[in-house]
Each structure stands twice: as structure tokens, then as C-alpha cells.
């Protein structure tokens, strides 16, 4: 399976709250709050729905004016940060 087809899944034990210009995540285990800007919040919500990178990029391309290349780069960077922070399964 290529990177673009990998299905991302949010760790279910994390509590997410959408905010007016982003979102936040509370990690009870580590007593830590993660803040997301609007794009990161959209990516996180997509992970909660079990989307692939390609699906996330396609959804964001419909919402934002930036080119697909830029959006893909942003999404991959955000997913990498989620992974480093152990937010994904």
C-alpha cells in the first residue's frame, strides 16, 4: 500500500474539541493539550473518519484555493507531526 492510500486513524482515547478557528486535543494519558490551526483541525477530523492521505488532500483542495501540491505538502507535514506526537494508531 502506498503512503497516499494508508488509512489514518486517530487514537480513540484522545478527546477532540473543534473551536471557532481550529481545534484542540486532550491527551489524558500524558495530561497534554495539543492545539491545531484550522488546517490541522480539518486533517485531524479526517483521521477520526478513517481517511487516506489522498482523500484528505482531495477534501482540502475543494475547500482551499491553494494548489494541490502545496496542500499535499501541508497535509503530509501535519500527519508527520501527528505521528511524532503519537496521536495516530
Amino acid at each position: 500500500m502506498s503512503g497516499a492510500e494508508k488509512i489514518w486513524r486517530a487514537r480513540p482515547s484522545l478527546a477532540y474539541r473543534k473551536l471557532v478557528d481550529g481545534g484542540m486535543l486532550y491527551d489524558e494519558e500524558h495530561k497534554q493539550v495539543h492545539h491545531f490551526n484550522e488546517t490541522a483541525a480539518r486533517v485531524w477530523e479526517s483521521c477520526q473518519e478513517g481517511r487516506t492521505t489522498a482523500q484528505i488532500v482531495a477534501a482540502l483542495c475543494r475547500e482551499y484555493a491553494e494548489g494541490e501540491g502545496q496542500i499535499r505538502a501541508d497535509v503530509e507535514e501535519i500527519l508527520e507531526e501527528f505521528g511524532e506526537s503519537e496521536l495516530l494508531e
Binding site: 478527546a15 474539541r17 473543534k18 473551536l19 471557532v20 478557528d21 484542540m24 486532550y26 489524558e28 495530561k31 493539550v33 492545539h35
Partner: protein
Amino acid sequence: MTIETHLERAVLAADLAGLEGLDDEEWESLGERAVAEGLEGLLYHRCTSGGVDVPAEVHYAWRTGYWAWATDNFAALRELRPVLAALARQSVEVIVLPGAPLLALYPDPGCRPMEDIDLLVRPEQVPAAAAVLAGLGFESPDRYDDIYARDGLVIDLHDDLFHCGRIAARRHAGQLDVDQVWAGRRVQVVEGIELCTPSMEDMVLYTAAHALRHSYRRLSWFADLRLLVDGGLDWERLFAGARTSGLERPLAYGLEFLRRSGALPAPLEDWLAEQRMSGAEAWLLRRAFTGREDGELGDVLWSFNTESRFRQLQFLAQTYFPQPSVLLQVFPFLPKSLFPLAYGLRLGQLVFRGGRQLVGLVRKT
């Protein structure tokens, strides 16, 4: 229109139209007032979702406050869940008093400040509750025996609604009956956490009395009240509760304020029209509303709620000169052994505040 009026309309009536025409100085003034009154989060949310163009400095201050409240409140509620579970395991029944339950009335947890979480337990269960909290690592700050803090979570433990243990005369100035609150309790989900809370009607009475007790210094309490009365109440239950608990006056005062920025539901308008105030009381109320910023009149107004002149004087005396343990909280720098000095300091403080209030009144008149 004054900045105060803009603020009231934006907060209580969600009317942002007037903000578009503010100049830089007025925005700065509005921005500062909003932060001082704990309204920056709500206004940030409303302006962002309403597409209002907020000047950069105010935007930054409001956004910072909004995210800070969102983070603190969301984390506090999540931290509260295991605490409630631990109390339940020891068969300690708990009602979560406002503000935490009021967060459910707002779009998200960034819209309302919440400095602590107030828990009501039955008087005979206070020692058990305190033991559970101590076992979980909570500690009481010096001079605050009923406050329990751990990391960012602060719990204020009550065995009645208005901490009459601190000022006993409050029992004679309208008191939400604890049995009534226990009987009316309900389960409410707040930010995904299941809480046992007072009924909506009891929360209205509690909020109205709380705002009065603090001289209406924060408009955010009226925002709570507005959302509560618009939230669908059992009017007869509310009016009966106000009557039996002797809180008709605080309720009427709060509703009078709300009426300034928009009509109330018809049953409340009808009820309010039946309430009578003496000339002095009405004058004090107007002054309390216009001088909210540095308000000191709440306790004087609250004293009208007592049943006799003797009780009124007793209430004022105990409120302004409370028992040493309470007064030492007002002057934390004073060693406990020197507590008699606290009464002199308190007198000076009251004279200073009274003078300031008088100057404010003269200016506004």
C-alpha cells in the same frame, strides 16, 4: 452609544452591528473592558463566526484569552471526571454547581471563563469528600480550607450554595434551600462529561444571586443569565423557587438588567411587572448597574433581602467585617497572629472604596 452599551448589546443580544463603526480608540476601550469582564472568548467567537473585522491588537488579546479558556476549561473538565468517579466510589454524592454546567449553554469552552469548579456535597459527607480529594493529591492553599487544588484544577467544596459557613448572616438574606437543589438535580452532559447539576431553574436563581453578591462586576454573569432564561424554563417552578428561597429580589434585579438589552420571555416580563421596589432600592440598583466597573453596592442591595432591619444590619456588619478566618483571606500578607489589625485595614479599605464609589457616582450623575 457608549462602549458599555456596545458591550452589552454584543454580549447579551449577540448584536454586533454597532461594532463595525467603532474607531481605534473605541475598539481599544472595548477590547480592554471585554478582557476585564471575562468576555473576550465569547466576543472572539462571535466576531470570528460573524465575520466582524477586529483590529489586530484587540484580535490578538481576545484570541489569546479564547484559546486559554478553551484549553483550561476543556482540560479541567477532563480532569474532573476521575475525581467524580473517585467520589462516587466512596458513595459521596456531588452536584456540580455553576459555572461548569453553564459551559453547555455556550458554543464552545473558550467562550466562558471558569476559574474553579464548585462542588456541592451533603454536609455530613464533607469529611469524606475532603479525604478523597486529599487522597488524589489535592491540597488546600493557606487560609482556604474549602478550596482544593492540584495542577491546574481548582475545586471549591460547598455544603451549601452561598458558603454561609463563612458569613452566617447570609442564611437570613435569601438562601437556595439545599434540599430543594438536591431534589431538583439532573444529569447533564457538558463537553462530553456527565455531570450531576442543579435544575435549570435553580441555576437561574444561583446565577442571579451570585451576580448580585459580586456587585454585578462581570457582565459574563448576565450572559449566563440571558442564556439560561432563553433556554426554556419551567416558569412556575422558577417563580415558586424564588419565592420559597427568598430570592425574588436578586432574580428581579438580574432580569431588570437583562431587559435593558432585549425583551424577556413573556412570563418573565409579567412576573417582573408584579415585583415592587422601594425608592431607595431602585436608586441603589440603578447606581449598581451604572457603576458596575468598580461596583461595591451588591452587598447593600442584598441586605434588602433580609426580613427585618435588625437582620439587615447584622448582614451588613458580618459581610463587611466577617470572622477572622475570612478577613485574613482578604489580607493574605497579614500574619494570622495579627488578625485584629485586619479589622482596621478593612475599615480603611471600605472608606477608600466608598469614596471611589461616591466619586464615580458624582461623575456619572
